[in-house]
Symmetry: none
């Protein structure tokens, strides 16, 4: 499948906009570990992930890394193009966590699209809101670490009780057990899923990596 199949608002572009994007696109294949963008590289362009996995992290003076979000198939990375908006006043490093195939959209082409097209600007808003939510979630985790341990402990206990790693339980029920809100549990389980610790299907939480979950619980 080509770019048009990965860019959800392709059909909302005019023919002229579509061909401007198509002509400007750069296709890249990078090995796991490659740093695609950092603060000292100005405006690398926007990345659209075709396959693979990227992570965005911030780096302290002392060189400590903290992952702030991850990007999977079809995700668009705005912050590798921080010059696109004057209000983006921070820098992240973007690294390939797996071998990754992606498209680079040059900043000038995308900026032009945003200025002309309300659908593109609103799509960009939704992406920024998604990343914002991830970052807020990360802050909450940093500040209030205990809930992830409590959810991990609950799942492990439940697996022992039920004698299976396939737990038939709703997020609501887990929340009731822990005295918290369903939304908190849902976000936590999605985070666990992104980390490969659980698999979520309708009405079922499957423990996918017991060891990792135990490490989290005890860490």
């Amino acid at each position: 499948m080509e770019f048009s199949g990965y860019f959800p608002i392709w059909q909302k572009l005019t023919a002229a906009q579509q061909s401007a994007v198509s002509e400007a696109l750069i296709h890249r294949t990078v090995k796991k570990g490659t740093v695609l963008h950092n603060g000292s590289m100005d405006c690398t362009g926007l990345f659209l992930v075709k396959s693979g996995q990227l992570r965005a992290y911030i780096l302290s003076e002392e060189g400590r890394e903290v992952t702030v979000y991850r990007l999977f198939d079809r995700d668009l990375c705005l912050f590798s193009a921080s010059c696109m908006m004057r209000s983006i006043q921070f820098e992240v490093t973007i690294q390939a966590e797996k071998d990754t195939e992606l498209w680079v959209i040059p900043v000038e082409v995308y900026r032009q699209l945003m200025e002309e097209s309300a659908p593109v600007a609103n799509y960009t808003n939704e992406i920024m809101a998604t990343r914002f939510s991830e970052v807020m979630w990360r802050i909450e985790q940093i500040l209030w670490k205990s809930m992830d341990k409590r959810v991990a402990a609950f799942l492990l206990e439940e697996a022992v009780i039920e004698g299976t790693n396939q737990l038939k339980i709703t997020h609501e029920a887990i929340a009731n057990h822990l005295g918290t809100h369903r939304e908190v549990v849902t976000r936590m389980l999605r985070y666990f899923q992104n980390e490969g610790m659980v698999r979520l299907t309708r009405g079922v939480v499957e423990i996918a990596d017991e060891e990792k979950l135990e490490e989290l619980q005890n860490g």
Copy 2:
């Protein structure tokens, strides 16, 4: 001055859009301490600050507060209208930190504007990027600043906001801003006092040596 003077892209709205906004606007005056929005109030609307000061904070299960950003004259608050975008998946509490005059723009009116108008959508993008930058800055502070630096940074920031080195603030309030305990702040301030950086009197923290405090913050 009226709303049109506070909303920077007013001139980019059509006459029809301008009158739709004017008719829907709600003018509010609230006392210091008023909670204008929290997670359990759905979609309060967007706030545009005319005068005063708001702060956005997140709240833990245990009731600890951490300030994530502040809003001053002419600032627009998007996250009191989190239903506006489906990708906003977090909740903040918005409280008046001073007596505040503001306008509330109903969500449906603003959403309509964003959908129709690329300038409004791009303006919204810039605001979100600004808040995002503030939150990233806050994460970096949390992760990489030892508490002494965080307290120093807070006092210096507060002095700029208030336009005075005589800060009328309790240790409890500082602790809430930084997501820590009052005792920690009190010990830190006593240490600062011993070092000649501040002077403590009842209800007041006076910055006595700004330069030394700045050195600590940056050191």
